[in-house]
Subunit: 159 residues, 2 copies
DNA sequence: TACATATATTACCCATAGGTAACTTATTTG
DNA sequence: CAAATAAGTTACCTATGGGTAATATATGTA
């Protein structure tokens, strides 16, 4: 992709795909597999379907793709488990999720899940790094947090 | 959509659609139409195609949809213009774009276009409001900006 | 062990959002 | 004004990522 300015979602989605990255959907699957496997060691197709609010056939399909990318191990009618590579990816995705969530919490939002779920797939590694640094900055500067909350209280209505 | 936690992009994308919102792609079209029409009063199909790095037939299709939603006026082989409703939507989209961009700039990113283009479609109105408030907070508290930059300089490498 | 039930797969369907090729309409120019 | 060119539309293709219905396999229980 030529070094062009795109001004579109699609342009950059395609850009990402060429780099052999996971699609947003696959990222959600991996993140959830990681969440569950961390505790139970494995996850079954139907459980994954339920957790992702999706039907089993959709899971079957995606699981095949993730296996092809060596992120999980799976044999027909068996159990899904993470490979070492899969564990790394899952850990990254969960870390990213938490970074976005922490930032949204800081902003003052109560309900963060929906926005987190949407935003997490659409930030570059650079932005993620900065977001993590910013979260640390806030942690180490509680006075800024206080100032911001005061500012919010004064201004929350006028937009 | 039941008040369920989804943990997926798709769940929330579908949620949005039911509310008769624009798709990310349509938002990009509207934003670009607004950018150009603000200056020229109108835009042609081929120009829009070029600006969005997309082919003319794709534009024809989307323009039909936007017309059906009364966001633009268009007659075959004619010129695209914004309705009053379309101007409102366009103004909102541009404002949102700028809010996301300003925030990413604040974080310390040089290249913001790609992330802005991706993120802008995936933030709720609540998050946008908070983001705008946060941008204002930073503007009115330059000492925080300085502190953050110092923090960045000390920590930018260790992640 | 046989049957009922639970789990998973396969074969299809749908929508979105892009693409190309062929055709039509509009505009420019000799 | 006729021909050439530019602009736009139509018909049809692709891929992703969902869905359902029917089928296959595995598991639990009488
Ligand atoms: Mn997600
Ligand atoms: Mn997530
Ligand atoms: Mn965009
Ligand atoms: Mn934009």
């Amino acid at each position: 992709m030529d070094n062009k300015d795109f001004y579109t979602v699609r342009g950059y989605q395609i850009h990402k795909k060429n780099e052999k990255m996971l699609t947003p959907s696959m990222e959600d699957y991996m993140e959830m597999i990681y969440r569950v496997c961390r505790k139970n060691g494995y996850i079954r197709i139907n459980v994954l379907a339920e957790r992702l609010n999706v039907q089993a056939p959709s899971v079957s399909r995606v699981v095949e793709k993730l296996k092809a990318r060596k992120l999980i191990s799976y044999e027909k009618y068996g159990v899904v488990q993470l490979t070492d590579k899969g564990k790394q990816v899952g850990a990254f995705l969960l870390k990213r999720h938490k970074a976005v969530e922490a930032f949204l919490k800081f902003l003052g939002l109560q309900e963060t899940l929906m926005d987190t779920e949407m935003i997490e797939h659409n930030i570059s590694v650079e932005t993620l790094k900065k977001l993590i640094l910013f979260n640390r900055f806030i942690q180490s500067h509680p006075e800024v947090l206080t100032q911001y909350h005061e500012f919010l209280n004064k201004n929350q209505d006028r937009l």
